[in-house]
């Protein structure tokens, strides 16, 4: 199956070090992923399945350690499927980049100091947007670019996606 979202889940499985691969399909015109389980009902939805995989891989820390961190992870997972995937036009993409840029100004990862599932899924979600971005724009959203570059070099995360070139030295120094 070649659906993008299914590839994403398969990559996540690998990143998490899960051995046996699950069976996925998609439903509806929005291509919502479905995890088919042998015992019990199917699981529907990207973030739901992703959280389930993390539990399965016994890497609960990726969902956040404290109540607060958990909430922040959940918030950015939701942001991924409602704002990033739901975006319709250039303006909305720009709002997403602008908000994220502002948010990441004083943070290493989305949940602060710890790498979490939110980083992985937001990275997957932003990948097509970042690929399209001109060098100039990547500089404009400097915090997003820095974070993005960091995540794509995080061990075992990039998987099936081609790397996006982010220049460390600014070309357009006058533009902010």
């Amino acid at each position: 199956m070649s659906d993008k979202v299914v590839l994403e889940l398969l990559s996540l499985e690998k990143s998490l070090g899960l051995k046996k691969t699950n069976k996925y399909s998609t439903q509806g015109d929005k291509q919502v992923p479905v995890l088919q389980t042998n015992n019990g009902p199917n699981l529907i939805g990207l973030t739901t399945i992703a959280a389930h995989l993390v539990q399965e891989a016994q890497q609960k820390q990726l969902l956040g350690n404290t109540a607060e961190e958990k909430a922040i992870v959940q918030q950015w997972l939701e942001y991924r499927v409602t704002q990033i995937d739901g975006h319709r036009g250039k303006d909305e993409t720009r709002t997403v980049l602008k908000d994220l840029n502002q948010y990441l100004e004083d943070k290493v990862y989305l949940a602060g100091d710890d790498f979490t599932l939110a980083d992985i899924l937001v990275y997957y979600g932003l990948h097509p947007i970042m690929t399209e971005l001109a060098v100039q724009e990547k500089e404009k959203y400097v915090n997003v670019s820095r974070w993005f570059n960091h995540i794509q070099h995080y061990p075992g995360i990039r998987q099936h996606l081609p790397p996006v070139v982010v220049l460390k030295n600014r070309l357009y120094t006058s533009v902010h």
């Binding site: 088919q36 958990k70 959940q74």
Partner: protein
């Protein structure tokens, strides 16, 4: 923690409910709608939660979950799934629905936009049979979904009675104290309207959000369903039973009458008005949909009666008769035959197709009338009406013109002014004029009888609630009925000053007849009475009979409110509608069907294209406007014919039959089922059961997909097993080729039965080609081997023909807006129509005017233009100017000829406005 809120913001409900339920210590602060609280977000995002360390949570669902987590209630897969579904699926539908309901006042559309989501929740609740969404106790999922849905569902018109599980869940959550508190603090007792100031400041949700291309199948289950071992085993067992234990098809003996202890189904299709040639939209809206269901019921061996007929009384018929120089009865005879012919061509399987101008109709209508009178459900009142003394008649609104009392526009019509658009009462027109003789009508008072709907309201409401809960009403039908009741019922006039109708059997009213809306639905009863003397066994037998009414949604008020009131008031144990099936509208190539402009395909023209009736049936049913309007499109017709019928269904059935003929001398080979085959049988069985369930709920369009899914599975099966290669291989290979061919040809036979309601002729040809035994024509929940090894099949030939693009293009041109006899060369000229005439055309679109009016207006135009030409000539104007005026005159004359030119199928009026 500090929670920032805004009044009247629907997103605040769940958050406040979560605070209350978890007993969190949290400061609530109300701020303005557009206030930016979260520093890193460019736009205002409320509500939001500021944590003690200064961080912000701006996602309402994350806030709710956080409050639950603090109380030790961690998320589960199921709560996560509900929260994600709420954020991605429900909110998209909901933001559109709220905007439509509150800001635009389109409540019906709003209910429609939400319908599928509500059904999804209902089904999930039923599947798990838990009191709450994710567990036996309330969880964050319940709070989040309840908060999202509360603004709309708290208004009972949005909560369909048939979604019982959803309803009781919703009521259960509403009763929780925390939720009641949240409602109080956010909505302040103002209900939906409290949201208005907030919603008005939001951008209109994009229209695309919840309206996927309406002709596409609705995203449903994924194709690869996981089958359990039990299902597979059961399917294999059913298969091996063969026809031995199969029920026999019940022979149909007329008159069909209800049988005790059986399922008795009475089906009506809205009576088409006689002087219209029905267009494709009319056909799919009632007769064709009802036909599919009737055929399905017969295949299930239910006792089924399907009646319909033409509705013949009323002003429109009188007018048409005058125009054609015939008597009203002659007009009805003529057009009744036109209708009957069209439906016959479409293969509509009426048990009886009658008419309303019969003695039985008069008897039954007068009986109901007398019973209403005796029981004091009729009122008398005086109505002021315009009467033309020279024509000797009271004038219907459409026959009066005058000066608008609001804007002084001189050509205002009797019901509405074309200029200012205001609705007018004909008696208020200044200097009114009779449109027929140009005389001045006078205001006369006339006594009329009214059906006292308010007095019957309590009975109606009780019946309606019961019927909607136990029966199957489409969401639009429920909604329209509820809206009528909510807006309050008023007495409704049931008599008219006309001749062509059923006489009112009272001395005082001897010059009057019944208003058509009063007697037209009685046509169902009288048509049945003309079919059998024992009609009362159907119509006065609510205990044994299930009544299904099919119609387009504009007819819902009469079938759900007005007619039931007549029958309830008559107190004669009438069978009232149990299932009201209303369709939305079918558009033509994204516009409207219009007879006057020659736009669209009408019943009689469908035949002229040479496309078989079954293809029309298939396509119309495939795009049946079930939940929303849909469009007939020529290119889509081509696509569906070539992809679904030719490449999918036809291809599978043809190959299955061909293999039997070519490789096995026309005899079904031996079959040794392996696991793959059994799996396929289970797939097909599953689709078959879906099909049965869907059709039982009259979801005709969705059920058709199941048929196509089976043939899709079949094609994959043949492709994967390659019998044409294996037949040349080893003994084992040949054995395998035989099994695959045998299973495939039996699937083709199953498909022929399932297809019968949709495409009766194609179904018959498949069975003829396969020499299928007639007793296969029964639908049960099982897929059995109908054609055993050794069964001889007949000659196999292709079922469908390819449609070509140039063919389709020529039809599109022909039906696209010009009358067939007008050349396209005319087009540029007609575009330069004078304003007055364009308006006349526009008026026709509204269905208010009829062809004679158009001819009349054109005649006036011609006279005026003639004067213009004479004037110009008298003034010795420039040649070019005179020439242009003459051209225009000639063009008008030409149009006049066309407008007067009487072809048998040129009807006066579109739509059934008067009903």
């Amino acid at each position: 923690m500090r929670l920032y809120l805004t009044e009247g913001n629907p997103h605040c409900l769940k958050v406040v409910a979560a605070v209350e339920l978890t007993g969190s210590r949290c400061e609530l602060q109300f701020v303005g709608v557009e206030e930016r609280v979260v520093p890193f977000l460019a736009h205002s995002k409320l509500p939001c939660l500021q944590l003690d360390n200064g961080n912000y949570l701006f996602s309402t669902n994350a806030i709710c979950q956080y409050l639950f987590t603090l109380r030790g209630k961690e998320p589960s897969d199921l709560t996560n799934q509900w929260l994600e579904w709420e954020g991605t699926e429900l909110q998209t539908a909901l933001s559109g629905a709220l905007y439509m309901a509150v800001v635009q006042g389109k409540r019906e559309e709003a209910a429609g936009a939400l319908q599928k989501k509500c059904a999804y929740i209902d089904q999930s609740l039923m599947k798990r049979s838990c009191p709450f969404l994710a567990a036996d106790a309330i969880t964050v999922a319940d709070i989040v979904l309840w908060g999202a849905l509360y603004p709309l569902l708290s208004d009972s018109t949005f909560l369909p009675g048939d979604l019982k599980a959803l309803r009781s869940w919703f009521e259960r959550v509403c009763a929780v104290a925390a939720c009641r508190k949240a409602v109080e603090s956010i909505l302040k007792g103002k209900g939906l309207q409290a949201l208005k100031p907030y919603l008005q400041k939001q951008p209109a949700p994009s229209q695309r959000a919840e309206t996927p291309a309406s002709n596409e199948p609705e995203g449903g289950e994924s194709a690869d369903r996981v089958l359990t071992e039990e299902e597979i085993g059961a399917a294999a067992e059913s298969w091996s039973k063969g026809l031995s234990a199969w029920p026999k098809p019940k022979p149909i003996e007329h008159p069909v009458l209800p049988q005790p202890n059986e399922k008795n189904v009475l089906i009506t299709s809205a009576l088409p008005y006689v002087n219209n040639v029905p267009h494709l939209g009319n056909i799919i809206g009632c007769v064709l949909s009802a036909d599919v269901f009737a055929r399905f019921c017969r295949l299930r061996n239910w006792t089924t009666l399907f009646v319909c007929g033409t509705d013949e009384y009323g002003t429109a018929t009188e007018t048409k008769a005058l125009e054609e120089g015939l008597s009203p009865q002659q007009i009805c005879d003529k057009y009744h035959a036109v209708h009957a012919h069209i439906y016959q061509w479409f293969g509509i399987s009426f048990d009886h197709f009658g008419r309303t101008t019969t003695q039985r109709q008069t008897e039954i209508s007068q009986d109901i009338f007398r019973r209403l009178l005796d029981r004091d459900f009729l009122l008398q009142d005086t109505v002021e009406q315009l009467r033309c003394e020279s024509c000797q008649k009271f004038l219907a609104d459409r026959f009066v013109e005058g000066t608008c009392p609001f804007c002084n526009y001189e050509e205002a019509r009797g019901d509405q002014c074309d200029k200012c658009g205001k609705l007018i009462n004909a008696t208020e027109l200044k200097s009114p004029q009779c449109k027929i003789c140009k005389g001045t009508p006078v205001v006369k008072s006339s006594k009329h009888l009214f059906l006292d709907l308010p007095k019957l309201e309590a009975r109606l409401v009780k019946w309606l609630e019961d019927s909607m809960v136990s029966g199957n009403w489409t969401p639009n039908a429920r909604f329209i009925a509820r809206s009528w009741i909510r807006d309050g019922l008023k007495p409704r006039c049931i008599t008219r000053d006309l001749k062509w109708g059923i006489p009112v059997p009272l001395e005082e009213f001897k010059d009057k007849v019944f208003y058509v809306w009063f007697d037209a639905p009685i046509g169902y009863l009288s048509i049945t009475a003309n079919y059998t003397d024992q009609w009362e066994r159907w119509w006065k037998n609510p205990e044994q009979v299930q009544l299904y009414n099919f119609m387009a949604k504009d007819n819902v008020p009469f079938h759900s409110v007005v007619f039931p009131c007549s029958l309830l008031g008559a107190e004669d144990n009438y069978t009232l509608v149990n299932h009201l099936i209303a369709t939305e509208y079918l558009n033509y190539e994204d516009g409207k069907f219009s007879k006057s402009r020659g736009v669209g395909v009408f019943g009689d023209m469908a035949k002229e294209t040479g496309i078989p009736a079954d293809i029309w049936r298939f396509y119309l049913l495939f795009i049946r406007p079930e939940g929303q309007d849909s469009s007939f499109s020529w290119s889509d017709l081509l696509l569906k014919n070539n992809s679904e019928l030719l490449n999918n269904l036809g291809n599978f059935i043809n190959r299955a039959g061909m293999f039997v003929c070519k490789f096995f001398e026309g005899r079904v080979p031996e079959m040794e089922l392996n696991d793959d085959d059994k799996r396929l049988l289970a797939q097909a069985t599953w689709e078959l059961r879906q099909y049965l369930q869907l059709l039982e709920k009259v979801r005709i369009r969705d059920a058709l997909k199941c048929i196509l899914n089976i043939s899709r599975h079949g094609n994959q099966y043949i492709q994967a097993n390659e019998p044409w290669k294996r037949i040349k291989g080893t003994d084992a290979d040949r054995q395998r080729a035989g099994t695959v061919t045998g299973v495939a040809v039996n699937m083709a036979c199953l498909l022929s039965v399932m297809l019968q309601p949709y495409m009766p002729s194609v179904s018959a040809s498949i069975q003829e080609q396969l020499l299928a035994p007639p007793q296969c024509n029964v639908l049960t929940e099982e897929f059995v081997c109908i054609l055993p090894s050794g069964h001889q099949i007949g000659a196999v030939s292709p079922l469908f023909q390819k449609l070509e693009t140039d063919q389709i293009e020529s039809w599109r041109k022909r039906f696209g807006g010009q009358q067939p006899d007008e050349g396209s060369a005319n087009q540029s000229k007609t575009e330069a129509k004078p304003a007055a005439e364009t308006k006349a055309a526009a008026a026709e679109d509204a269905g208010k005017d009829a062809d004679p009016q158009r001819a009349k207006q054109l005649a006036e135009e011609v006279t005026k233009q003639g004067e213009v030409v004479r004037e110009l000539k008298a003034q010795k104007a420039e040649k070019a100017v005179i020439g242009a005026a003459v051209t225009k005159l000639l063009e008008l004359k030409k149009q006049l000829v066309l407008a007067e030119g009487k072809t048998p199928e040129a009807p006066a009026q579109k739509g059934k406005k008067k009903k």
